[in-house]
Symmetry: C2
Subunit: 330 residues, 2 copies
């Protein structure tokens, strides 16, 4: 069995307690895709909504609520909102990053142009906000809207910190919370709250989601240096080549201030040659292991957040997810 | 007194019953602009949020709720959400249209680039959704999110119908509802609902907002042919030159199928010379008056929607607004 098959089976077994809910989320997405009559191009929503993806975020929502039965419908509604929000943000991010492909297909911005990508992203963001209203919990709705502000704020901060070697690890942490961990936090918190969990349990799930999300984004940033182009579906070091400085880059630059490549970059070089050399230096260095240690700290904190909860199958799945996050290759 | 001064005084007197509320909306926008620390550029939100504008939509919300005292705070919150939504949509529209200026200043996309315009628009859309949650009425929140889907749907349909001379007046009507009248409807409906008005009164305001919004957009489309570049702040016929076909264009083409310019455009010409000639033909033709008659129908319907309500100062202002809509020059 290949690593990829092995990981695929791992995900399937983690998702097993909420397989029915995830299928219902898929059905919601397919239904929305079929209702695109007024958008001008019937294939547009289908391309955007029915395209696979790992569905980690909606799985977190469903698993966080699955230990208390009776609220399956509202959890599916919430999980659909969470996945829609994620899809909308990918459409906008791919437009901003001028990405060519996503999940093996051309991005919306490449296929239909940036204007359509902008407006379709708006449409799907707003559709996610309509879905979340159908949970009937205005506190959850408000937190969801705040999450969209945080996503946008994180992406804006990323734009404004391109090639900025003076940025701090604290700024990086804020940015990855905003762009990734915020939605994981909301996904877990909302699942627990909507299932009727008491406040202290909701707080535990919130902490779980936060830590899982931070680990998830740090793993993304590690893979950007450590993966292969075949695994990643994009060039190794793609972020750095665009001037996006992540934790491995910041740690390497701090540890090797006198390295000639680091020095040139700090002095303002954005030459492809220097960036490429830096990607290779970082990938071969100990900062990858160091960054993984930081990630392991968040994974451990996620596990600990759930430690006091009853030993149910959904909780075991959430625990196993922290392990999967650190093993994935794309 | 010039026409512009005359109109300015007219607006001021229409807004008089809710002057305090509109000032509170401005204060909310200024406060938000000052809290932009994490966005990467402190001047960005200030540029976007503190820039004047006619504030017709928040005025409609405040006026629709002003005849029932006691809910001023929640009405200001709603009016702020409505204005934020409008601002976000302008930022995205200006990026899509590659507009140079807005309200006498460079557009966000010209000043900071399209990526920042996209992400800032997302941020402000989401901020509007947070504000509307603070009204505490989940029905209003849901309707508000639906309005954002409609705005995006209308803009998408516009993109997909560029230079499409086969489009119907029905498709045009749907598009201007989506892109403009939807928000006017929501602005009026939410104001009435949040003030505690009974259902039949809420319906009256909803009908008022719908008809006012349709008239507002048709007037925009008339001004695109009838105004001067100095008044409009953009070239006469700017929409048509981009291939956006509005009611005057559709009516003229239907009435003059054998005109050589119309024939060339219908056969697929997008030559500047033909488009420019068409703009002049339409502007000098009777379809302008015909389109104004259609608009007057909506203005009349807006007035009639309020006819059964008590004769209060805010209601008289809403009535006067239907008049102003047809007299404005920009």
């Amino acid at each position: 069995m290949s690593d990829a098959e092995d990981l695929g089976r791992t995900v399937e077994s983690i998702y097993a307690p909420v397989r029915g809910g995830l299928d219902a989320v898929d059905a919601n997405l397919r239904r929305l895709a079929s209702e695109s009559g007024l958008l001008g191009d019937a294939s547009l929503l289908d391309h955007a909504l029915v395209s696979g993806g790992k569905k980690v975020r909606p799985a977190v929502t469903l698993l966080a609520g699955a230990s208390r039965p009776g609220r399956e419908d509202v959890l599916v509604t919430m999980a659909t909102a969470v996945e829609l929000l994620h899809i909308a943000s990918l459409i906008h991010d791919d437009s901003v990053d001028q990405a060519e492909t996503r999940r093996g297909r051309r991005t919306v911005s490449r296929q239909w142009g940036e204007n359509v990508a902008l407006l379709l992203g708006d449409y799907i963001f707003a559709t996610s906000a309509v879905f979340v209203c159908d949970t009937g919990d205005i506190g959850v709705v408000r937190r969801f809207s705040e999450t969209i502000t945080e996503l946008a704020r994180g992406e804006l901060a990323e734009q404004f910190s391109i090639h900025d070697w003076g940025q701090t690890v604290e700024a990086y942490n804020q940015r990855i919370y905003d762009k990734t961990a915020s939605l994981f936090t909301t996904a877990a918190e909302a699942g627990a709250r909507l299932s009727g969990a008491p406040d202290d349990e909701v707080e535990a799930f919130k902490s779980y989601g936060y830590n899982l999300g931070m680990a998830f984004q740090i793993m993304d940033d590690v893979l950007d240096f450590r993966g292969t182009e075949a695994e990643l579906g994009k060039p190794v070091g793609a972020d750095l080549l665009q001037g996006i400085l992540t934790l491995p880059a910041l740690l390497f630059a701090a540890a090797h201030p006198d390295d000639p490549v680091v020095r040139r970059l700090r002095e303002g070089s954005t030459a492809r040659k220097d960036l490429q050399a830096f990607v290779e230096l970082v990938g071969a260095s100990s900062v990858i292991a160091e960054t993984e240690t930081v990630m392991d700290g968040y994974r451990q904190a996620a596990r600990e957040a759930l430690a006091g909860l009853p030993d149910t199958e959904p909780h075991r799945s959430l625990d196993a997810l922290t392990d999967y996050i650190g093993r994935r290759r794309s």
